[in-house]
Symmetry: C2
Subunit: 368 residues, 2 copies
């Protein structure tokens, strides 16, 4: 994420400093001003922030106490710790969302599998069990099918500071993401609502705008995201991941940063999520979030058997001079997101075929 | 130019190394791998090239002997010195272009003002006098109005290695630029032909595609550029600047690198000139050069009285959420190109008004 912020930062003449654990990290490869250190090392974060006008994030894992210390020193932390905690802790997020009237699935904090069993009696099997903290890319989330499955899941250790959550399984027809940018001055910009496709808990594809989504429901999704951004005083980009049942929308997760569901905006929107995140956290007027073409699709490149991604360019580029490829400079590991492919145009189905072909060729799933 | 190559290099996962005289240079600010040194210092260039797969340029000023030494060491120099000399020396370029049948104005190497006076008798006043080397942005070019003016111009010292050229003044109705990319394998891609507007010898505006240009003449301009790229064995981007008289096209200048007339391609084309330059010099298949919208305009931001460009963002972005701004991180000096503004859409005239307003606000020419 930080790597993809380097391009709009350079275009706008904004000096970007990155905190990274090594020079080989994805963003550190392409940014000249790198501070080495860990995001959970208070000394490293404070030293990094020294001289920065604004500190922002491409993940939610910087501990709240460190963010509060930064704020106490007068550093502009955007989003601030009181907003960010809602992206760090799903129990706090659920409570906050209920408080602002956002639609959420039935949920409960559960302290034992017996307690979760009570919940199961109201919503039935299968239902969802999550850890409130420490999950990502499908980790820390289980679709529980039976009492014995529930016992097995909840016998695992919780991450530090986490509690167990039980949630009703929402019978969704598609998953949506509604992204908005919000500045400290309160200006907001809402991107078109997109369809996200998850494969084994990892985002695999995004289609913008979400195909077949009723226009009124799209506006409702944008309104929900704008309401959350305002109520939580979010600054920067907010992604609200939602379930669409065909009749109703429920909020699933929040991310307060540029998000995988918005990578299509680099080519597909007038202003990318990365540029608007920078503009928002700097309290500059936001750029237009409107789409440039009738459709855009993004397909993630997941690590496969092939360690050398570069060699795929000959085939991919010769076959399709119109796809746009982003590689992250990450070491290839099976299932790891190592890049993405975007295609823009008019017909989402043909764009998906093109982008999937390219992504599958990079991952080694196909070789012709 | 090198600064704007950083974004596609990061997207494609290509490691970029820059030779710069200081860390404060425009490109050096945004690239992590910087070698300090001068482009005409043989030792610095050779040390810089050590470990590079390909060496390329964002200007034409690296001396030929250094490039030949690089090639002798087995470094891939793209474009190569035999192509590049045509962008370094206008006398060589004119002779080469005549050799390949490209249309050029009547011209002659002149050794004295008496000799140039002979030329004037065939083409009449005013005509053009140039130095074959060392000119840029209107420097080294004079529109000579009279014999006494001619004497004054030619009494100036010539740059090292340069000769005087006399050329017929072409009564053009517009200036055009035809850009093509060409790879070592010989693949080519031709961008839409654009109108360039020069103010006091400096490119001020570009409109893509060139408004009112006859489609047959546009194809002719692309064909001329492709012919030149092939005949000269250009690798990377080639810009052919042309005069359009309304009846005929004449080639004015060549640039073998990303060029100011192609900045609009960052937002306006499927593949930017910066990405296709990288793809070409790496001998990767080229990306589509097609326009994404019916029209795109680019207006340069020239340095004015205001040293702090950043403060203009509040007004510029609040007034127009759709313009795209690129600042180069250069110290502001009057008349210096310090950034540009791009607007894409359907009506070039309204796009120009928007982009000019933003550029004029940055330069301080207007303040509301």
């Amino acid at each position: 994420m930080a790597r993809m912020s380097a391009a709009p930062a350079a275009a706008l003449g904004i000096d970007l400093r990155v905190l990274a654990t090594s020079r080989q990290e994805s963003a550190a490869q392409v940014v000249s001003d790198v501070c080495l250190g860990a995001h959970d090392d208070e000394h490293a974060v404070l030293a990094f922030a020294d001289g920065c006008d604004v500190v922002t994030f491409d993940h939610e894992h910087v501990p709240g106490p460190i963010l509060e210390k930064l704020e106490a020193r007068g550093v502009a932390v955007r989003p601030g710790p009181r907003a960010l905690v809602n992206a760090q802790d799903k129990a706090i997020m659920r409570r906050t969302l209920e408080g602002v009237g956002a639609p959420v699935p039935a949920w409960r904090i559960v302290e034992s599998s017996a307690h979760a069993q009570d919940f199961a009696e109201t919503v039935g099997y299968p239902f969802i069990v999550k850890t409130s903290r420490g999950g990502y890319d499908g980790k820390g989330v289980w679709r529980v099918e039976s009492a014995s499955h529930l016992d097995a899941v909840m016998s695992q250790p919780l991450p530090p500071g986490a509690v167990w959550l039980a949630e009703a399984a929402v019978p969704f027809t598609q998953e949506l993401s509604a992204q908005v940018a919000r500045s400290p001055s309160g200006q907001t910009a809402a991107y078109p609502v997109v369809r996200t496709v998850q494969t084994e808990g990892i985002c695999s594809e995004v289609v913008a705008p979400a195909p077949g989504l009723d226009p009124d429901r799209a506006v409702e999704a944008q309104r929900i995201a704008l309401d959350i951004a305002g109520a939580l005083d979010v600054t920067g980009m907010l992604a609200v991941e939602m379930f669409d049942t065909g009749h109703e929308i429920f909020v699933n997760e929040l991310a307060m940063r540029p998000h995988n569901s918005g990578h299509w905006t680099i080519e597909g929107a007038i202003t990318s999520q990365f540029e608007n995140h920078l503009r928002a956290v700097l309290d500059l007027p936001l750029g237009s979030p409107n789409a440039r073409e009738p459709a855009a699709v993004m397909v993630n490149i997941l690590g496969g058997d092939v360690g050398d991604l570069y060699s795929a360019y000959r085939h991919v580029f010769a076959r399709d001079p119109g796809v746009k490829v982003h590689l992250y400079g990450k070491e290839v590991r099976p299932g790891r997101k190592v890049g993405h492919v975007t295609a823009v145009g008019s017909d989402p189905q043909s764009l998906l075929l093109r982008a999937r072909h390219a992504a599958d060729y990079f991952s080694g799933a196909i070789n012709e």
